[in-house]
Amino acid sequence: MGSLSTSRILLIGLAAVVLASFLPLWASGYILGLLTLAYYFGVFAMAWDLLFGFAGEVNFGPTFLIGTGAYTAGILDNLYQPPIWMCLVAGALAAVAGGVVLALPALRVRGPYFGLTTLVAVLMLQNFIVVDASLTGGEIGLTVPDVISISDAINYLIALWFMAMSGAILFALSRSPVGLILQASGQDAVQAGALGFNVTKHKLTAFIISAFFSGLAGALLIFYLGSASVGTLVDITVGVQIIIAAVVGGRRTILGAVLGAVFLIAMSEALRPLGDLSNFVVFAMALVVVLLFPSGFFGLLTRAREPS
């Protein structure tokens, strides 16, 4: 299975992002709002792909990192109202701390066992948010006093370029020697260790990077939405959607995750006339992709362009 060279993919990606930057000139605010959401979801899915696709960690709890980042930023803004960038930095750092906490069991337990640990982490965070309602807003959700902008176009461009930069960094990383070592240790940690690679150090790095982007994207998202709630950022169903986006887009491709996220959000919108059945149809389509095209959209695209 051949694939395009790193620089060519980055170039095509850059061209797509530049083209997408002109969308606000003609698209309605509603379409822009949808894509803004899809781009942040794309970052979540890419960060997840780095852990799952490359480091081989079955992480059912991407929302643990996202929620930690988002809520830290939101609570800080609510309590002290510092400049928004400080909230964003704090959110990203808190998520990194969360990533380290999550990495500890990952260094000890594997596969489904680790998957369950991540699930527990999400449930714990969810319980904390609901129980400590005076700080987090509990079930109602947290409303932040500041938003970055109320202009659809500006929010769209921020999300687009944030996604583009995160994607470039994560993609370059995945194609670098670090990515290869991660992949090797994900498949057989013992052998990778025997070859002289420091598996622990590389895995920890993967967790920290994944957490950084998840947390930052989560924090940016609440300053776009103006509110955070368990249902939008932390709930396990949100995590499931992120996983589906990454798998449908193409696992182990990083950039495919963005395609998957845009697909999920666009489809659920396009199928709205179906009413209550729309979600069912979206998930059914995702299942068909998983069953028939396991390499995902990105796999289909890159293979189609490859002469071999």
Binding site: P105, Y113, L119, M124, I244, N279, V290, L291, P294
Partner: protein
């Protein structure tokens, strides 16, 4: 008094957990599949039994039987439509199949959940109980249905034990769970073993679902929590170990009941989750794991 209450209530719920998790452990042991549509299959059985009672106006026994039947059909459907194609495909590398089966069964479970909510709303459903009324056990007013639940659970688990240990087909299943390749050398068709195990699993899921529907009731929202609870019990017991799952079911069931009574029902699941994390730190293979 409180002690007896916890003992009686905890027993029924634990027995139900045991039955639900047994099937989950069995298919993992034999075919290495973690079926994340487990909860959805249970809910399907409940909704079928409920709909049979409400729409077709059949009696409690017929409704329950229909629920188990639909649970079995849905499970076999899951195997032939989702799991087997993924196991046999050449498009996916062997070591990645586990991840694809997890994702596909997860998606399948959500699809069932959406369909049930679409057809029958997401309101909770309860199956008309076969037995009604209450009796007193050690001073605790216990619904007869609770005793019925525990008895049926153990009856089914007992039959399963006999099947596995006393029949030729059962022994083949047991052998397959220990060493799939070895079994083929003995002339047993592995494909038949898989179908048999999935059928047994389907019946277990159906019975556990219908009993849960009579005892506590479920809604389409229960799909996730039911899968998560079976998953954690099986991991706690040690993946692939049926007896480990049985023990773990009682540990989790009682821990939850004790928490609900002594601390607060709101924190019901937390100590069990903490225990799970702790056990995995100390012994990553669970209580009786062997993989």
């Amino acid at each position: 008094m409180l002690f007896w209450q916890i003992l009686v209530d905890g027993f029924a719920i634990s027995s139900l957990y045991a039955l639900g998790a047994t099937g989950f452990a069995l298919i993992f042991g034999v075919s290495g599949v973690l079926n994340l549509s487990h909860g959805a299959l249970m809910v399907t059985a409940v909704v079928a039994a409920w709909a049979a009672g409400n729409d077709l106006h059949v009696g409690a026994y017929a409704g329950a039987a229909l629920g188990v039947g639909v649970g079995l059909v849905a499970t076999l459907f899951t195997y032939f439509l989702i799991v087997r194609p993924l196991q046999q495909t050449r498009k996916i590398r062997e070591e990645e199949k586990e991840i694809f089966i997890l994702t596909a069964t997860l998606l399948w479970g959500i699809m069932i959940q959406e369909l049930i909510a679409y057809l029958y709303t997401n309101n909770a459903k309860t199956v008309a109980p076969i037995v009604e009324g209450v009796v007193r056990i050690a001073g605790v007013r216990t619904p007869t249905n609770e005793i019925f639940t525990a008895v049926v659970c153990w009856l089914v688990i007992g039959i399963l034990w006999l099947l596995v240990n006393r029949t030729r087909a059962g022994k083949a299943v047991l052998a397959a769970s220990m060493n799939p390749r070895g079994v083929t050398l003995l002339g047993v068709e592995l494909a038949h073993v898989y179908i048999a195990v999935w059928a047994i699993y389907g019946i277990l899921v159906g019975v556990a679902g219908v009993l849960l529907g009579m005892f506590l009731g479920v809604s389409s929202y229960s799909v996730g929590p039911l899968t998560a609870s079976a998953f954690s019990i099986v991991v706690l017991g040690g993946l692939g170990s049926v007896s480990g799952a049985l023990i773990a079911a009682y540990v989790v069931g009682y821990l939850e009941t004790i928490t609900a009574y002594l601390i607060s029902p709101a924190y019901r699941t937390i100590p069990a989750l903490l225990l799970l994390v702790a056990v995995m730190y100390v012994s990553p293979r669970g209580l009786l794991g062997r993989r």
